[in-house]
Every structure is written in structure tokens, then in C-alpha cells.
């Protein structure tokens, strides 16, 4: 009998060990492969958010430091867990926003982005890692958020928000955060929020500045009240052209998280009729009192003309992405390909290569023989630059026999500014400078890097 008990006890101990080992293995496996999230490529109806009537012991421990705040408290925390937030754009603003909302215990996060992770995103889009390159941003962000707080329900949407799906999607959420990077999407999100009656926490960041406003909130103005007409497309700068210091959208995304949490917890936002401007250069925040809701507003006014979503790309005259458009300003005989230029270079024919990018970009990379005169200097006819240009043309003329026009090839990053420069130089040729034969190198240095010299840096 005693022997049998002993034997059973030993067996039990062995099994317990086995169970512990299995549990450990499972935990490790789950850690390296978190719950597989389903990536949505279209808008589907969501089940209502289930809410807990009380906080669990684990909740109390996890959120203890914010539960201690009288501003939040248990009631505020429970309100957060009942709130769903749609984040439009999982980039420089959306990443820190999603991170802080998840950490604070928001109930449900919709994470929307049509784009994939690229190396040039990582300096500011801090939820994505090197191993996520090529992955859908929505999925990469959702996985990162899940690692941080597995109790938050995440729904990644890998799709372009459009007039066809925006209202259907936005209706399913309590609060919307605009973290997009282009004007048509800003109007689209605004109109869909007005039509669905949702508050819109909107921020932007460019170069060293950021802005934040809460639209369509407690009777305040909407985006269209402030900006009834879109800006001319040529006046809009995006991050891939203008540059941005990563921490600036980081600060603005955190600011958005703060306002979302205040609205979700029941505390309320004070940015409903206010524009907060952040100047990173002199570390200054300014609050601007805005106009109230406009009775004549096309979407939230008394007699709205926009009662359903429209074609926002047509309305704004630009595409709903921040990718650069390819201009086509010149005739075919005014352009050469990078391959053509490679053979001109190899033949060592006398010519001038003019790089019209700003100096800050020339410092990043340039072709060795190029002369740098920024497009803006040509447009403004800066005398020291015109003189330099004339000197180089004269030198070229001396090298060339006869009286033919010296060839000038113009290059920039992607081949848009170089076309504008060709137009300017064509006007100057024969009057402000000697007669020249100007051509644009189609596709610019990025085409050179792709097709001719793979060691040339891309940015």
C-alpha cells in the first residue's frame, strides 16, 4: 500500500513536471507568435464592444497609477474600456497614438492604413520594426499594440479609406483620430464624421511644426468650417518632400492620445474650438481660439450641400496619398532617360550637369560632376547663381568647336523640379545667359539609382 502511494506520488510529480514544461513551451511559443490577427481588406460589421461592469484585480494592478488620478478614477477607466477608436493612418502620428491608447486600456482600436512599412518610415513610425518592412502597416501596428496590452481588441484594416466605405466604417466607432497625410483624406474623414456624428481628433506634423484640433465636438466647428475650400495642390507639401523630425509627429500623436482619452473617459476635451500649434524650433505651444461652427458650412451648416460623401480627390485636385505625383511639363525632345545620360557621360562629350535640388539634399548625395543651383534660385534669378551658370556655359562654349549651343542636362530627385527648371532655363536662354540646349533627365537621381548605379543612395 505504502509503496503504491509512493509510486503514484512519484508519477504525479513527473506529470506535474511535464505539464509545467508544456506550459512553458506554450508560453514561449505564444510570446514569439502572438495571437494571429486577421487583416481586414474591407469594412465588415463589428460585434458590439463587450464591457465589464467592474475592474478585475489584474486591471486594478495594470492601471493603478492612472486609477489614482481623481480626473480618471474607476469610472473613467471603465469608460475607456467601453470606447472604440478608429485611427486613420498608422504612421508618425498614428503609432504613438495607438500605443498610448492601448497602454491606457482603450476597449477597441481600429487601425487603418493602405500602405506597407518602409525603411524610411522607421525614424518616426515607432511601432514598426526593421523586421516589419514590407508588411502592412495596419498589421504591424496591431501586433505591436497587442504585445503591449493583449486585452485591447485590435482590428487592422489594410485598405484605402474612400467615399464608398468611410461612413460604414466610422459609424462603428465612438471617436475618430485623423492621422493621415493628405488633404483629400482630411476632407473625407471630416465629412464622414459630421455625417455620422462622431468627434474627430485631428493632428498634423511637418518639418518642425505640429497642429491639433478636435472637430465636430460639442457643437464646435468642423474642418470645413475652417477650410471651406481646399488649398491649391501645388501649395501642399508632404513629409517625403518637406521632411519631418520624427519626434514632432511623436509629440503631436501623444497629444492626440491625450485628447482622445479625455473624451473617452468622460472628462471632455478643451480643443473643440481651439487650434494648438507646436513650434519645435523654439519649443513653444500656442493655443488659438477658433471661429465657432459656421452656419454656412457646406457639411455641418444649416443648409448643407454635402449630404453624402463626394469625390474628394476631384474636390482637392490631388490624390489621397502622400506619394509624389509625376509631372509631365515638357515635350519628348526636351527629355532624356538616365540611360541616355549614362552614355553621354561615358562618351565624355562636353556638357553641363545642373542639379536643381536644395543644398540640404545635395549634401545627402549627388553626382560628382554636377553644378548645384537650386530651382528657387533660378526662379528668383539670383545674380550670383546666374553669374556662376554663365561662367560654366562660357567655359563649355570654349571647349566646343563651332557655334553650336552648349548642352545643359538638368537633374533633381524624381524629375519634377528638373522639368520646371528646364522651362525657366529655356526662357533665359539667349537673353539672360548664352544660347543653350536644355534637357531634363527623366526620373532624376532616383531613376539613376534604380537603373544605372545601384550603389547610389535613395532617400
Amino acid at each position: 500500500m505504502a509503496q503504491e502511494v509512493c509510486c503514484l506520488k512519484a508519477q504525479l510529480k513527473e506529470k506535474e513536471k511535464e505539464i509545467a514544461a508544456l506550459k512553458k513551451k506554450l508560453a514561449q511559443l505564444e510570446k514569439s507568435h502572438p495571437t494571429v490577427l486577421e487583416l481586414h481588406d474591407k469594412v465588415t460589421p463589428l460585434t458590439p464592444l463587450t464591457s465589464n461592469p467592474a475592474l478585475s484585480n489584474e486591471d486594478i494592478m495594470r492601471y493603478s497609477r492612472q486609477l489614482l488620478l481623481p480626473d480618471l478614477g474607476v469610472r473613467g477607466q471603465l469608460n475607456l474600456s467601453k470606447t472604440s477608436v478608429l485611427i486613420v493612418g498608422c504612421g508618425g502620428l498614428g503609432c504613438p497614438l495607438a500605443q498610448y491608447l492601448a497602454a491606457a486600456g482603450i476597449g477597441r482600436l481600429g487601425l487603418l492604413d493602405y500602405d506597407e512599412v518602409e525603411l524610411s518610415n522607421l525614424h518616426r513610425q515607432v511601432l514598426h520594426g526593421e523586421e516589419n518592412q514590407g508588411q502592412a502597416k495596419a498589421l504591424s501596428a496591431a501586433n505591436a499594440v497587442k504585445r503591449l496590452n493583449s486585452t485591447v481588441e485590435c482590428i487592422p484594416y489594410h485598405l484605402q479609406l474612400s467615399s464608398d466605405n468611410a461612413v460604414q466604417l466610422i459609424q462603428q466607432y465612438d471617436i475618430v483620430a485623423d492621422c493621415s497625410d493628405n488633404v483629400p483624406t482630411r476632407y473625407l474623414v471630416n465629412d464622414a464624421c459630421v455625417l455620422s456624428g462622431k468627434p474627430l481628433v485631428s493632428a498634423s506634423a511637418l518639418r518642425m511644426e505640429g497642429q491639433l484640433t478636435v472637430y465636430n465636438y460639442r457643437g464646435g466647428p468642423c474642418y470645413r468650417c475652417l477650410y471651406p475650400l481646399p488649398p491649391p495642390p501645388e501649395t501642399v507639401t508632404n513629409c517625403s518632400d518637406g521632411g519631418v523630425l520624427g519626434v514632432v509627429p511623436g509629440i503631436m500623436g501623444c497629444f492626440q492620445a491625450l485628447e482622445v482619452l479625455k473624451i473617452a473617459s468622460g472628462h471632455g476635451s478643451s480643443c473643440g474650438q481651439q487650434l494648438v500649434m507646436f513650434d519645435a524650433q523654439d519649443a513653444r505651444f500656442r493655443s488659438i481660439k477658433l471661429r465657432p461652427k459656421q452656419p454656412g458650412c457646406a457639411v455641418c451648416g444649416e443648409n448643407p450641400s454635402v449630404t453624402q460623401l463626394v469625390d474628394y480627390e476631384a474636390f482637392c485636385g490631388s490624390a489621397a496619398t502622400d506619394k509624389c505625383l509625376k509631372l509631365n511639363l515638357l515635350s519628348k525632345d526636351q527629355r532624356i532617360t538616365v540611360q541616355d545620360y549614362k552614355s553621354i557621360m561615358d562618351d565624355a562629350g562636353p556638357h553641363l550637369l545642373l542639379d536643381v535640388r536644395p543644398l540640404v539634399e545635395v549634401d545627402i548625395c549627388h553626382l560628382p560632376s554636377s553644378l548645384n543651383i537650386p530651382l528657387s534660385s533660378l526662379q528668383e534669378r539670383k545674380s550670383e547663381h546666374l553669374q556662376l551658370l554663365q561662367e560654366r556655359i562660357s567655359e563649355l562654349k570654349q571647349q566646343m568647336a563651332g557655334d553650336c549651343r552648349p548642352p545643359v542636362y538638368v537633374i533633381c530627385k524624381q524629375g519634377n523640379d528638373s522639368q520646371k527648371a528646364v522651362q525657366v532655363l529655356d526662357k533665359m536662354s539667349g537673353s539672360e545667359v548664352d544660347n543653350i540646349a536644355v534637357k531634363d533627365i527623366s526620373g532624376g537621381l532616383m531613376a539613376w539609382a534604380k537603373r544605372i548605379d545601384p550603389t547610389f543612395p535613395q532617400y
Partner: protein
């Protein structure tokens, strides 16, 4: 006659690029028979400060769509027709910020 007034102008959010990248300008508006108003100030800015491509700054007799005009940290629209009063009364402290939204 309205006396000359000192105005502190600020351009931001990319609008400064139309003014050689200079964000802050301290200017003195000359005396004129009428009190200065915002529309006249925009014309003055266009004639005296704007370097190039006025279409990126003005359209008709106002700023182009996408630019917000702010007076003393408030939206110009809040002032309505009283903008001229603001310009003369505020004198030295009057700052006008012009910010495009993106």
C-alpha cells in the same frame, strides 16, 4: 489721419518659405487717411514682403484657401469686420500670424 503703426507679423506652417524662410517680421505701416484693416495689410505684405509667386499667398482680396489668418492668437473670422479696429488699437502688441494647415 491714422498714425503709423508697428505690427509684428509671423508666418508659419510653411508660409514662411514665401518670405525667404523668415518667420518673424517687425514692420511699421505708414500713416494713411483711413485706419488700416486686414485687407489693406495683406496688400501691403504682398507689395513689400512677398518675394515670389503671390498666387501661393493671396487669392482675390484675401489669403488663398488653406491659410488661416490669426490676430493676437485668435482666428481672424472671430473679429469679423472689427479687424481694422484691432489693428489700430493694438498697435505695437498686434501680431498677425499666417498659418497654412496641412
Amino acid at each position: 489721419m491714422a498714425a503709423p503703426i508697428a505690427v509684428h507679423l509671423e508666418f508659419g506652417g510653411g508660409a514662411e518659405l514665401l518670405f525667404n524662410g523668415v518667420k518673424e517680421h517687425h514692420v511699421t505701416l505708414p500713416s494713411q487717411s483711413e485706419p488700416w484693416d486686414m485687407k489693406q495689410l495683406l496688400v501691403w505684405i504682398q507689395r513689400n514682403l512677398l518675394k515670389e509667386r503671390p498666387e501661393l499667398f493671396v487669392q482675390g482680396d484675401s489669403v488663398r484657401p488653406g491659410i488661416l489668418v490669426l490676430i493676437n492668437d485668435a482666428d481672424w473670422e472671430l473679429m469679423n469686420q472689427n479687424a481694422c479696429a484691432c489693428l489700430t488699437a493694438a498697435g505695437l502688441d498686434c501680431s498677425v500670424g499666417l498659418k497654412p494647415a496641412h
